[in-house]
């Protein structure tokens, strides 16, 4: 090879290198999209967290897009994925866990972090969170906005009725709520939360150590079947039906939310997510308080289960985008940001480190109700009945359960008829899911 040729080759190589390098210099940042499902105050805080991340470094830029509620976000994701327009990060509800896990459209979050060279300590999640999101020892998604139901009550009204606060058991609570109504203290002793299937049924089943379905509530396989029509749930549903009938438990109705009914002082109690802290703290003009969910007499209460959303990494993106995603997830999972997020929203700090940091700052002494959720979640060792629920098409079976519950309240069915029908219809959906995902 002549010198000339060598020079030529060298120049060519240089120019190729220069060309390859140019984008890195001229292109400002790697953009990735994150579709999330939070709105209102929670949505604003989500945007604030994204802005904080974008300001913290200059390589990546996360663009947060609100796609509606969880269902709408998921529907948008499905449509986008089928035409190759999917985002890099997606927020999905705990109810959509199986749908996402078996979708073939995700990359386990741990894999992304490892490939991008992050040494994140994933073993640090509090037990029920880890128990739910960790599959075969690896977290499938990053739990982000995790919550659990707690029992909110109007302290003024309880005091007026001569009670210090709500009782620990459903039996005593029953008497208290009737007393609130009979003494004329409130027309509405309790309002039904919009996600009552989660707080009043699924969590009831977990806390009181009853099976909801076979195969460890779906953790042991897709052959799971619902059994809640044969457990203590029947008694719980019976109680709720009696309360609705007697005007103890009110339905907010369309146009109003259950939180609004509580915050406005119309209803004395509500059993809803710890994430209601954001709106209760902002709006309640009375002495409000919160406590643990009640349990059955003579039962040692177990942990409650988590709800809320997790961040999934979506398949089909390039390495640069995954680098951005990993950087963002690392940012989100840091104890500082976990603590910030939890303090702002009322969601649970999902890592022990964040929890300890908040405790060390004395945050829980100032805000005792903020600690209820995490104490309730980490009460005892989660067992088969309390670890959570892994049912395929869980959204669909939940919708059926809600419909059948409404059939009880409207007087169309008895409690047992409705639960039997709900289980039978739900099991058809589970079999359909099993058939479709047999190979997984």
């Amino acid at each position: 090879m002549t010198v000339f040729n060598k020079t030529l080759a060298g120049t060519a190589l240089c120019s190729v290198l220069a060309l390859a390098a140019t984008p890195a210099f001229s292109q400002e940042r790697v953009h990735i999209e994150w579709w999330y499902a939070l709105s209102g105050r929670l949505g604003d805080l989500t945007q604030e967290m994204i802005a904080n991340f974008n300001a913290s470094q200059d390589q990546y830029e996360v663009v947060g897009i609100h796609k509606g509620n969880y269902e709408e976000t998921m529907a948008a994701m499905v449509a986008a994925y089928r035409v190759g327009q999917q985002p890099t990060l997606l927020m999905a509800a705990e109810r959509g866990f199986m749908t996402m896990l078996n979708s073939g459209a995700i990359v386990p979050v741990n894999q992304v972090m490892a490939e991008q060279g992050y040494d994140t300590d994933w073993g640090d999640f509090i037990a029920p969170v880890a128990g739910f999101y960790v599959v075969d020892g690896e977290p499938a998604a990053l739990p982000f906005n995790s919550s659990t139901p707690i029992f909110w009550f109007n302290q003024d009204q309880f005091t007026a009725a001569g009670f210090d606060g709500p009782a620990d058991t459903w039996q005593e609570l029953d008497e208290q709520l009737y007393a609130l109504k009979e003494q004329g203290i409130t027309e509405c002793p309790m309002v039904l939360p919009s996600d009552f299937q989660w707080s009043l049924l699924e969590n009831y089943s977990a806390i009181n150590d009853m099976p909801f379905g076979t195969s460890a509530n779906g953790f042991d396989g897709l052959d799971t079947e619902f059994v809640y029509n044969t457990t203590g749930m029947v008694g719980q549903v019976d109680r709720l039906a009696r309360w609705v009938e007697d005007g103890i438990l009110h339905l907010a109705g369309e146009g109003m939310s259950s939180t609004q009914m509580f915050v406005s002082g119309n209803c004395a109690t509500v059993m809803s997510s710890t994430a209601s802290h954001a709106s209760v703290e902002a709006g309640a003009q009375f002495d409000w308080n919160a406590t643990f969910m009640p349990h059955e007499e003579g039962v040692e209460p177990r942990n409650s289960t988590i709800g809320g959303g997790a961040i999934w990494v979506v398949a089909g993106q390039d390495d640069g985008e995954y680098a951005a995603a990993a950087a963002f997830l690392d940012f989100v999972a840091s104890p500082d940001n976990q603590a910030w997020w939890s303090e702002q929203t009322g969601y649970v700090p999902v890592t022990t480190a964040a929890y300890e940091q908040m405790a060390a700052e004395g945050y829980f002494e100032e805000h005792p109700t903020r600690e209820i959720a995490i104490l309730q979640l980490s009460r005892g060792e989660p067992n088969e009945n309390s670890r959570g629920f892994r049912f395929g098409n869980h959204n669909q079976t939940t919708a059926i359960l809600v419909e059948e519950m409404q059939a009880i309240w409207t007087g169309q069915k008895t409690v047992q008829e409705a639960l039997d029908s709900s289980v039978a219809r739900g099991n058809v959906i589970l079999r359909q899911y099993e058939q479709l995902h047999a190979g997984q």
Binding site: H250, L251, G255, Q435, L436
Partner: protein, 331 residues
Amino acid sequence: MLVSSDSSTIREGAPWRLPASLFTGLRARFGAQSSEGLKAAHFARPGIAIVLLAPQLLILLFFFYIPAYKALSLAFVQTDPFGLTTMFVGLDNFMRLFASPEYRFSASLSLVFTFVQSVITLSCAALLAFATDRVVRGKAIFKGIILLPYAIAPVASGTIFAFVFNANVGPFANFLHELGLPWNPALRPLDAQILVVVAAVWNHLCYDYIFLVAAMLAVPRSLMEAAALDGARPVRRFFTVTLPLIMPTFFFLMIMNLIYGLFDTFALIDTMTQGGPAASTSTLVYKVYQDGFVQLDLGSSAAQSVVLMAIAVVFTILQFRAVERRVNYGV
């Protein structure tokens, strides 16, 4: 339609509006006997007709025929939302639908709802249109008030209705409670159904009203005067002179109401009742959305859309056969 990336078009029900060409086609078929009047309108040279039709046909192709084809192809499979596994199941989706009591209830609910809503809307609109002529002062205000609801998006009016009739806080609900009525659309299925019908009538009344007023303006004054001279009183004149003359408009409105009731009430139901309580207001079109876009059961949802389309087509044909014979387009 189910893979359309923009779900808002589905929510509006736009792809499912019956194409105008269907009417033309049907009109040509069922009206072919008559060689005079508007029934037999056609172009001497078909070339220009095709050019004029092209834009509309293209829109139909993209927003109706292609989505309809996609729906048809999904109706015979079971698939997970992301399209990872697709299993051909033949008529399984349809068999499951027809075997399900919930679906049969939804179907009869939709038909009853559409019928009741159409009859009330049309008769109220006819009454108001008739009254327009009798209003001497403030005619503009009268018309303005009636036309106002049409300017409000169904989602907005649904939200307002839901709030105003909310059993806990709504002023109208309070009023009903004071009358001693146990009104509660969250707990009483009939209340929820009444609420949906009332909102739908309120929403669609002005549409019918505009058409009827316009049609009545076109009725020759001389005929009315002749009838008046013969001693016919206003109500009698309306039924014997006006009504037969505006029959084509009336017939058109019947079909539009059918389509409105079957498809366009989605936004109202979504904002007012979410199909509840206990699925008592879950009409066919709401179920399609609920099963397809919320529950992601694409196969069943597609099968439902196919059935819904078939129902709409069959009813439109029936209306043409049964009613159009009595309609005279030539004046």
